[in-house]
């Protein structure tokens, strides 16, 4: 009885919680002088990885190559601080979208999972209605838009609609949206789907500033808002058992340090500001491995499942064994001659030395025509 009650209790708590964590980390700037935007996003990548989100659940978008850029004096390395204590690129990194792949279209397709059938799993956001997602974006933006690679823009409306579609498709449980760009707070102003907490680095008509530059790298290495976010995450959130809340994180923002007014949006979250601020930092930056246990659980159904699974395995094994001889059977009937479709979609041989022959044929045809004309006019005359 006690066990049953405990199970019920666990199930009840699990129902309100998420069972997986995902992170979508997007830098939208190309070119070497935007080094800091890639460093921003890689810093977040290192942080969520440190707090337990595996590479398979992180979608990292890097529009340019900074680590192996010929201008980089530190090959294979990206730093977010002039002290160069931490190499963000490290030995183990998986970039899911890079270079020209980072476009508005691909980003929205990723969020809404409207992708082609050949899209590999590592490039998809395979979330469900029990997944908490951290969406972090950085780049150059303006009032209600964010530039992608200096070539196109995503607007606040596009982003709001993409999140709405995600909610309709049950693709997230709760979502934390962070953005570090100029006039960042305008980007989340159009959101209208529930369970989203949003924060940005700067208010309307306000710039977001870089923190400092490294003289040997030659450019600024990190932005202020991200720097102080990381400062909090590195110094306060030491491990995955941290009980610090988003309220603690948001309270650590300081205009004197960031030089712009960070904004927050709680009204979409159930329970609004109170509940949103009480969410744990680890709910978005860390990883959980909760399992939902079905309360109507009985012995016989479980055994039946096992038997059915065994049958499936058996069938698959049989099929596998059966296909091999059949395959080779089909193939053995084929004669090892030239394939019939050869030549339809291939380069064909050009005879360059035929030039003179072709000209002779042309001349002969011309003179033949002239002769016919002459003969006809002679008969006519």
């Amino acid at each position: 009885m006690r066990v049953f009650l405990l199970g019920l209790l666990l199930a009840a708590t699990a129902l309100a919680e998420h069972t997986s964590n995902w992170a979508v980390l997007v830098s939208t700037s190309r070119f070497w002088f935007n080094y800091r935007h890639l460093a921003n996003v890689l810093s977040l990548y290192r942080t969520v990885k440190r707090l337990g989100i595996p590479d398979s659940q992180i979608i990292l978008m890097l529009p340019d190559d900074m680590a192996c850029n010929p201008r980089n004096a530190f090959p294979g390395t990206v730093y977010n601080n002039a002290d160069r204590a931490l190499d963000l690129y490290g030995d183990n990194i998986e970039v899911d979208y890079r270079g020209y792949e980072v476009t508005v279209e691909n980003f929205i397709r990723l969020l809404t999972d409207r992708v082609g059938e050949d899209m590999p799993r590592s490039k998809r956001l395979l979330t469900d209605d029990r997944s908490n997602i951290l969406v972090y974006m950085t780049g150059h933006g303006g009032n209600e838009f964010l530039k992608f690679q200096d070539a196109e823009e995503i607007s606040a409306f596009d982003l709001a609609d993409a999140f709405a579609q995600m909610w309709e498709k049950k693709r997230y449980h709760e979502l934390l949206f962070m953005i570090d760009t100029c006039q960042a707070n305008t980007m989340y102003s159009k959101f209208y789907s529930p369970n989203i907490i949003a924060t940005g680095s700067s208010a309307l008509d306000e710039s977001s500033y870089s923190h400092h530059a490294d003289n040997d790298v030659g450019v600024a290495v990190i932005d202020r808002y991200t720097y102080f976010n990381l400062d909090f995450l590195e110094t306060q959130v030491k491990d995955q058992f941290s009980k610090l809340t988003l309220g603690d994180l948001f309270d650590s923002y300081d205009f004197d340090k960031i030089h712009s007014h960070p904004g927050f949006r709680y009204d979409l979250f159930p329970g609004e500001e109170q509940n949103a601020r009480n969410k744990l930092v680890m709910d978005f930056f860390g990883n959980v491995q909760n399992v939902e246990v079905d309360t109507t659980w009985n012995e016989t159904a479980w055994r039946e499942d096992l038997v059915r699974l065994g049958r499936l395995v058996e069938k698959a094994r049989k099929r596998n064994n059966a296909t091999n001889p059949i395959d080779s059977d089909i193939l053995s009937h084929k004669t090892p001659s030239h394939s019939p479709m050869l030549g339809t979609d291939r380069a064909s041989e050009v005879r360059m030395e035929d030039g003179w022959t072709k000209q002779m044929i042309g001349a002969a045809a011309l003179f033949g025509g002239l002769g016919l004309w002459g003969a006809a006019s002679w008969i006519d005359g």
Binding site: A67, C68, T77, S122, S339, D345, A347, R351
Partner: protein
């Protein structure tokens, strides 16, 4: 119980006998203080175990992709940099484990029709793009060709399979190669960079190299026509040329700074030699170097599953070169073997994760290390000027003074670079009456659908150099087709050149199957690019013209003009006078009325 263990051992035996793993590292100091490090990892699986998805050393993630895409043989290359053949001599593996700058992929896909092959190729490139974190999904129909003569299957396929195999080839010359490509590459290895020679693979050094290639080759080896006898072999290689001087710089301070004067050997015979001026002398001795210093880490023991040949680290130097072995903890047992006729010294690193390294002191050598000379030299460049037309010039040299050279020259050009085939000219120097172009295979480009495929069979007499030229036209792209960095130019894939085996080539079966290849450098084609802020300017200008022009004309059309003296001076007094006049009129009316009444009464 013992019986069961025995039984399971017995079951394992046939598996163990046919799937094995080999690794080898070859180090060769090159002139100019360079060092060639050539890593080779090879393992295999029987066709049966592969079909049943029993993966042992063959990487599962990769194997499943091959099965899903029905790929029977695959070659994948990630390359950066240029091999300096003039200084470094012949290429490792005769160029057979090289690709063009960026990413190059070619594979034999089993398919019954071209459409099926295309769709499987698409599946393959997409899956590989996910596995290797590279934009391989950009290999679409415009970058895919079906080479005729350049590539031949390296594996021994069952004869019944051959008619159904289709070769597809794609290149991405613009693709950058970086740590995110090395990470999955190392994960495919059985020891995963934790032990054995793969523990030396570090992105920070690999991507600092003057030239580097990562390659993956999968090929079946079937003896006879029986498919059950097949094994599937996967070979991974990493070749790199490191600058020894640059690699020794500390990682957090790699900016080159001049040495202190007392550490430089000066030429004192120079007239300006003084305390503060020095002409540095080139060192005649072989400089000292240390494996751990150059790679920034030690070899972490041997990979315990390595097969019979456990002499995994080989150094290609003169036999008299002094080699010091370092192990940590000290005095561990390691194997060593000298092969003087090949100038090789091989080592077997100690087991159990012991740190292992080699160091070479500074030494005066009497004989230089012989370097094999390359079979062929090739250069390619863009000629001409202007935004509309240009030309391509390729120079292929045969350095041999006795042997003629038969080569296949392959170009896969993007659709926006349109060659004129009738302008193709070949010229031999010294001049000769021989027609060097023997065969031509050509498939013209279609806008936005496919690229040009040009393949030539060439004959180059001994000691000659062949110059190929043709004209090209540059296409104008649509506004949205330009990449974000269009002004940088568009990368054109390198030409691949295969040297056909001559009658006097005495090479073993394996080398012959691999072939001899060389690739030119990639080209940067400048296309006419619009001023991308132009649409914005046009909008701004149009709006201004509309506002000024239309606004002005509209204003003129609807306004009524009156002469200046007709205009009352001020509106407020006007209204006031009108009011006064009205008031006065009213009064006058009242007065006249009153007068009239008076008249009546009077």
């Amino acid at each position: 119980m013992i019986f069961r263990i025995f039984l399971s051992l017995l079951l394992l035996l046939p598996l163990a006998c046919c799937s094995d793993y080999h690794e080898k590292l070859l180090l060769r100091p090159l002139p100019g203080n360079a060092l060639l490090a050539s890593f080779n990892f090879r393992s295999n699986a029987t066709a049966n175990s592969f079909d049943e998805q029993n993966f042992r050393y063959f990487p599962r993630s990769f194997g499943q992709i091959l099965q899903h895409a029905h790929t029977k043989e695959l070659h994948l290359r990630f390359s950066v940099g240029r091999w300096d053949a003039e200084t470094w001599g012949a290429r490792p593996w005769n160029g057979a484990r090289e690709g063009g700058t960026g990413v190059e992929l070619w594979a034999w896909v089993e398919a019954k029709s071209d459409e099926e092959a295309n769709s499987r190729w698409l599946t393959l490139t997409n899956a590989l793009s996910g596995l290797f974190c590279a934009s391989l999904n950009f290999i679409d129909s415009t970058r895919t060709i079906r080479p005729m003569k350049t590539f031949e299957p390296e594996g021994l396929h069952p004869k019944s399979m051959l008619p159904n195999l289709q070769l597809l080839h794609g290149v991405l010359p613009h693709e950058v190669v970086c740590t995110e490509n090395l990470t999955p590459f190392v994960k495919l290895l059985p020891c995963k960079g934790k032990a054995g020679i793969s523990s030396l693979l570090d992105g920070h050094k690999l991507f600092d190299a003057s030239w580097q290639v990562m390659s993956i080759d999968v090929r079946p080896i079937c003896h006879g026509d029986d498919e059950s006898n097949c094994i599937l072999e996967i070979e991974q290689t990493v070749d790199m040329v490191l600058d020894r001087e640059r690699s020794k710089r500390p990682r957090d301070n790699p900016i080159p700074r001049p040495l202190p004067m007392d550490q430089i050997e000066c030429d004192v015979s120079k007239p300006y030699h003084a305390e503060d001026s020095c002409y540095p002398l080139e060192k005649s001795s072989e400089p000292a170097w240390d494996l751990a210093e150059i790679f920034g880490r030690h070899i972490k023991g041997d990979c315990p599953i390595t097969g019979d040949d456990s002499m995994t680290v080989c150094v290609n130097t003169q036999p008299e070169r002094i080699i010091n072995v370092f192990t940590n903890p000290e005095d561990q047992d390691f194997g060593m073997k000298k092969i003087p006729e090949e100038n090789l010294t091989c080592f077997e690193p100690p087991s159990n994760g012991t740190d292992f390294s080699l160091s070479f002191p500074e030494q005066n050598m009497t004989t230089p290390l012989p370097l094999a000379s390359p079979r062929i030299h090739a250069f390619r460049s863009i000629t001409g000027y202007g935004q509309e037309r240009g030309g391509i010039q390729a120079i292929i040299q045969n350095p041999s003074s006795t042997e003629p050279l038969d080569v296949i020259y392959l170009e896969s050009l993007p659709w926006y670079m349109k060659p004129y085939l009738h302008t193709l000219r070949s010229q031999l120097s010294p001049p000769s009456t021989i027609q060097p172009i023997k065969e031509t295979y050509y498939r013209p480009a279609l806008d936005r659908r496919r690229g040009t495929h040009l393949e030539l069979k060439l004959h180059i007499p001994p000691g000659s150099s062949l110059t190929l030229t043709y004209d090209i036209e540059k296409a104008i792209l649509r506004y949205t087709e330009y990449p974000p960095d269009a002004n940088r130019g568009f990368d054109v894939a390198p030409a691949a050149i295969r040297v056909l085996p001559g009658p006097n080539d005495a090479v073993d079966e394996d080398t012959r199957r691999r072939g001899i290849y060389v690739r030119t450098t990639s080209l940067l084609l400048p296309l006419p690019t619009p001023d991308f802020s132009m649409p914005y300017n046009v909008i701004i200008l149009t709006s201004t013209v509309m506002a000024l022009g239309f606004g002005g004309i509209f204003n003129i059309l609807v306004r009524r003009f009156v002469a200046a003296d007709e205009v009352p001076e001020n509106k407020l007094p006007l209204a006031l006078t009108a009011l006064v006049a009205r008031f006065r009129g009213r009064i006058r009316q009242v007065i006249t009325k009153a007068m009239g009444n008076r008249e009546k009464t009077e």
